[in-house]
């Protein structure tokens, strides 16, 4: 096989046995998410619905055929399974992480790992090339996620690094094991516990840390020296790497962008290194990249504090640090590190902390208050405050016990959930997930993708140029690129829905239109295949509007295809990849339907419909491309709410486009059979859930 290593590891924790799945059985699904969904279907679908904590829940940890080759940004790992975080239904969900794990797993000769069952006592999985062991984890249980990894490094490859070590399979490597681990929070099966790899690569959403904990699984470690990834056309692969870097990024130190787009350019392939690191910058530092990534979004600091922490981890607490000290201090980065060390969902912390602050200010939560806590609010703004909160969660003490189930379930326990979702005091917009910051009322494609799916999508494909560029333009009064051009570029690139610039119309009419439906569908299919299955990273792809590229046009849809074909030799087109994405999307929906999904439950939290998006008092801006009165412009969506009836209408349009029954939102037999999913149609029919 080219790209794939040919085998997937299947670990049964109940029996402590390991088997091999032949990757060719699942090759048609591409890799990553596609394979994960297909395996999950085969192993679990007929037993749904079950709890994520049930030993029958299967967690898949999948790489892509491109991981570890010279296909940029593809060294990512896709994690799937039933997740305890979503509410009210614990959806089959996904999370994804970078770092070194995917490439190391392939270097060990594996395409992925399937974990089922539950061990009778804490254990970990030790993969050294072909040899797989499930040792006892008594010495690891109780350690945080960092301590666990460093302990495993010691156990597997001895003391110091920097020299060659020889594996039991007679091969050599200088590398250290790539480990994914849970902290004490995962051990107590918290719904907001993550899987953590190295310092800051987290499978953050979904609550997979809690699932590992329920399985008595502390960590999975892999070190590989035997595997060599076969590439169909090595010359073409290297040429494509050069082509991508020269044309879509350039030399970081000497290049000039065609147009300055402000901070938004950071999400394109061309973006500058360390963009993701938003903590206390130090003079002594370097950019840090995942294996196979030329962008290097993170940083390693001279202090060592904040290594690999980026985006939400490095900003979730910044406003509190700023409010306390007048500026960002090292406390911000120590707080960032806490999310890595304790492998805790930083998005949840980002919304839980202001919620607690509000409840405290309202006199509802505090010492001796109706929600009693001795959490020291006068310490707000220090990293110690966060650590105190997290330790309460780990111990299950005080408000920690409720909060470790996530903000929504904590609010429910406190009898406040409905009311606070109505006002938005608890800003959890979709499926019990904290709203990301790209509000459904304004940036509609983000909200739609999330509510039509099962989680905060965290897919920035449009976000960079529909929001971040215009925001920078608004903030500086400088407009180097127009809304019209943005729409035009997309209309050229959004295969198979090309030729329709109105897909980018975020006006009050636009977001409910037939055009916008196509944008949302494109987004679902593209991310399911090209990113979540083939591995292209969300922070570089889709590369649509790129100000370092010729005519501001990024490498999507050509780049993905060139890399894919150079590695696999399969010679597919972009549109063919999109079709596989559509197939995967249908399979995911079938799984959700077996879990109880119906269009009637596909609804945002009330505040999305009832409360106008205001920002602050008087509100900051949410400028978006809009086509109004025959003219394109970036206009402010402040004050908008989602209209309930129009949203229902939008759903109907979406289901129609997808070929699903519009009363239920369930795929029809003809749609499924046309996608070669007859067996799925049969299963749904057997449960009376076919569209």
């Amino acid at each position: 096989m080219k790209g794939h290593m040919g085998k997937i590891l299947r670990v049964n924790l109940t029996n402590k046995t390991v088997k091999t799945i032949d990757t060719t059985q699942y090759e048609e699904w591409g890799g990553g998410h596609g394979i994960g969904s297909a395996i999950f279907w085969d192993l679990v679908a007929s037993q749904l619905p079950i709890s994520p904590y049930d030993p029958k829940n299967v967690v898949t940890i999948m790489t892509s055929p491109l991981a570890g080759t010279l296909a940029p940004t593809t060294g990512r790992t896709e994690v799937q399974g039933l997740g305890p975080q979503p509410y009210p239904i614990e959806w089959f969900t996904r999370s994804n992480f970078g770092g070194r794990f995917a490439v190391m797993l392939k270097n060990a000769g594996w395409d992925g790992i399937v974990i089922e069952g539950k061990a009778d006592k804490p254990c970990w999985v030790n993969i050294v090339d072909d040899d797989v062991d499930i040792p006892d984890a008594a010495d690891l249980w109780g350690l945080d996620a960092w301590e666990t990894q460093e302990e495993i490094w010691r156990e597997v490859s001895g003391g110091k690094f920097g020299k060659w070590v020889e594996t039991s399979t007679g091969r050599y490597t200088t590398q250290r094991p790539a480990v994914i681990a849970i902290s004490q929070l995962g051990e107590v099966q918290s719904r907001i516990a993550c899987l953590m790899h190295d310092a800051g690569n987290g499978a953050g959403q979904g609550g997979f840390g809690g699932v590992f904990g329920a399985k008595n699984l502390k960590a999975v470690s892999v070190i590989g020296a035997k595997g060599a990834i076969e590439v169909a056309d090595p010359k073409a692969l290297f040429e494509t790497w050069k082509w991508a870097l020269e044309n879509y990024r350039g030399n970081i130190e000497t290049r000039k962008p065609l147009a300055s787009l402000g901070s938004g350019e950071l999400l394109t392939f061309g973006g500058s290194p360390t963009v993701g690191y938003m903590g206390l910058r130090e003079k002594n530092m370097r950019p840090s990249g995942c294996t196979g990534c030329p962008k290097a979004c993170r940083a390693h600091l001279g202090s060592g504090i904040g290594n690999e922490q980026q985006c939400v981890e490095s900003v979730y607490y910044g406003s509190y640090v700023g409010a306390r000290y007048g500026a960002i201090t090292i406390e911000n980065d120590i707080a960032a590190d806490l999310t890595g060390k304790f492998a805790i969902n930083a998005y949840e912390l980002m919304k839980i902390i202001p919620y607690l602050q509000a409840l405290n200010a309202m006199g509802v939560l505090g010492k001796g208050k109706p929600i009693d806590t001795d959490l020291s609010f006068d310490m707000l703004g220090t990293a110690a405050f966060v650590e105190e909160l997290v330790r309460k969660m780990i111990k299950g003490k005080d408000i920690g016990l409720a909060l470790r189930e996530g903000g929504v379930r904590a609010a429910k326990q406190w009898g406040r959930m409905e009311a606070d979702l109505k006002t938005g005091l608890l800003p959890y917009a979709y499926w019990g997930y904290p709203e990301h910051g790209y509000d459904p009322r304004t940036e509609a494609e983000w909200g739609y993708g999330s509510i039509l799916g099962e989680r905060d999508i965290n897919e920035h494909d449009f976000n960079s140029f529909v929001f971040w560029y215009p925001l920078s333009f608004f903030a500086t009064g400088d407009y180097p690129i127009s809304a019209k051009e943005v729409a035009q570029i997309c209309s050229e690139k959004l295969v198979p829905y090309t030729g329709d610039p109105l897909m980018l119309d975020y006006s009050n009419e636009g977001i409910y239109s037939d055009h916008f439906v196509k944008l949302v569908a494109w987004h679902r299919h593209y991310t399911r295949f090209w990113k979540q299955s083939i591995g292209f990273c969300d922070w570089a792809f889709a590369d649509l509007v790129n100000n370092y590229a010729p005519n501001n046009r990024g490498m999507t849809p050509d780049g993905e295809v060139r890399f894919f074909n150079a590695v696999t030799g399969k010679n597919i087109t972009f549109a063919e990849g999109m079709e596989i994405g559509r197939r995967i999307w249908n399979l995911d929906n079938a799984i959700w339907i077996l879990q109880g999904r119906h269009r009637d439950m596909v609804k945002y939290s009330d505040y999305i419909y009832d409360v106008p998006w205001a920002g602050g008092i008087g509100g900051p801006a949410y400028p978006l491309p809009m086509y109004v009165n025959g003219e394109w412009k970036f206009a402010n969506a402040v004050g908008r709410k989602i209209d309930r009836a129009k949203f229902e209408d939008f759903k109907t349009k979406f289901y129609t486009l997808e070929g699903w029954n519009t009363s239920s939102g369930w795929p029809t037999r003809s749609t499924l059979e046309a996608l070669n999913l007859k067996h799925v149609a049969d299963q749904l029919a057997a449960k009376g859930k076919l569209g």
């Binding site: 570890g68 080759t69 010279l70 940029p72 770092g99 070194r100 190391m104 270097n107 040792p135 156990e155 597997v156 490859s157 001895g158 110091k160 690094f161 920097g162 020299k163 060659w164 070590v165 020889e166 594996t167 039991s168 399979t169 007679g170 091969r171 050599y172 490597t173 590398q175 310092a199 590989g224 035997k226 595997g227 060599a228 076969e230 590439v231 090595p234 010359k235 692969l237 290297f238 790497w241 870097l245 990024r249 030399n251 970081i252 130190e253 290194p273 360390t274 002594n284 530092m285 370097r286 990249g289 294996t291 030329p294 962008k295 290097a296 390693h300 600091l301 001279g302 060592g304 290594n307």
Partner: protein, 265 residues
């Protein structure tokens, strides 16, 4: 592989005890074949605690070796060597740890990608402070090459046209003397277990899977692949004392302006 060579290797290995490339599944705790001690082996580190597990990665341990090299050809190493006409220098403060150089090296030489087959090695410790967090190690094409001196068969030799220190795969018997002799940490001699020979940086002289011309007058895959230009090919001999000349500052003022790190060392 010639019959003559196979016989040589088997006899050689027999004389020393357990072989290393005779197959998979060597049990933990078994003595591994390792040649004369070098700095990589002087530390007495305990191996894994989980000795019972067969999946432990074992550190090479010392063993006394007695040679019965009667059937092997020996070459008399010259006292001085022609210098290489080219060298790879690196900036370990600029490296971002993406390992693209390793992928590229393996890709162009082998046609497939393996971190273990790369002739340049980058190590990334995300828990460590900058600048100790990442190390970049490349073959130094040493003016006084211990690998060449150590080689009993002449497999490791100086290419007459370019001065590049290269391995003749056909002559290599995988004795690992060059591996131990290399002063670099980690050793820049790369065991190719599947191919049954050692390999090393040849400045891309022999890259059948690349569309570019390599060698001292051509391009170099690691340098071409590096997304931040932390690797450079030079023609001047770098400072040999402490090998300091091989670790250079490739950062411009703009690097610091962009907030990526210090321009000065």
């Amino acid at each position: 592989m010639s019959e003559h060579k196979k016989v040589d290797r088997r006899n050689f290995i027999k004389g020393l005890g357990t072989g290393i490339i005779v197959g998979a599944g060597v049990t933990a705790g078994a003595t591994m074949l390792v040649p004369a001690p070098t700095q990589t082996l002087t530390e007495t580190e305990t191996t894994s605690k989980t000795i019972t597990s067969q999946t432990t990665v074992t550190m090479p341990t010392t063993t006394t070796a007695t040679t019965t090299a009667t059937k092997t050809t020996t070459t008399t190493a010259p006292l001085t060597f022609a210098s290489s006409k080219g060298y790879i220098v690196v900036d370990p403060k600029k490296c971002v740890g993406c390992l693209s150089c390793m992928a590229a090296c393996s890709l162009v030489h082998e046609g497939k990608v393996s971190l273990s087959l790369s002739r340049i090695q980058v190590l990334n410790n995300p828990f460590e402070r900058f600048p100790e967090d990442i190390t970049q190690e490349q073959c130094k094409q040493c003016v006084n090459p211990p690998c060449v001196t150590a080689c009993p068969t002449g497999a490791l030799h100086i290419d007459p046209a370019t001065g590049v220190r290269v391995v003749d795969k056909e002559k290599c018997i995988l004795c690992l003397r060059c591996f131990a002799a290399c002063r670099n940490v980690p050793s820049m001699m790369i065991p190719n277990a599947a191919g049954k020979y050692m390999q090393k940086c040849d400045l891309c002289m022999d890259t059948p899977y690349w569309g570019e011309k390599g060698g001292v007058d051509g391009k170099h895959a690691c340098e071409e692949a590096c997304p931040v230009k932390a690797i450079k090919f030079v023609k001047e001999v770098p400072e040999q004392l402490d090998m300091s000349g091989y670790y250079v500052n490739l950062r411009s003022k703009r690097w610091e302006e962009l907030g990526l790190g210090p321009a000065e060392d």
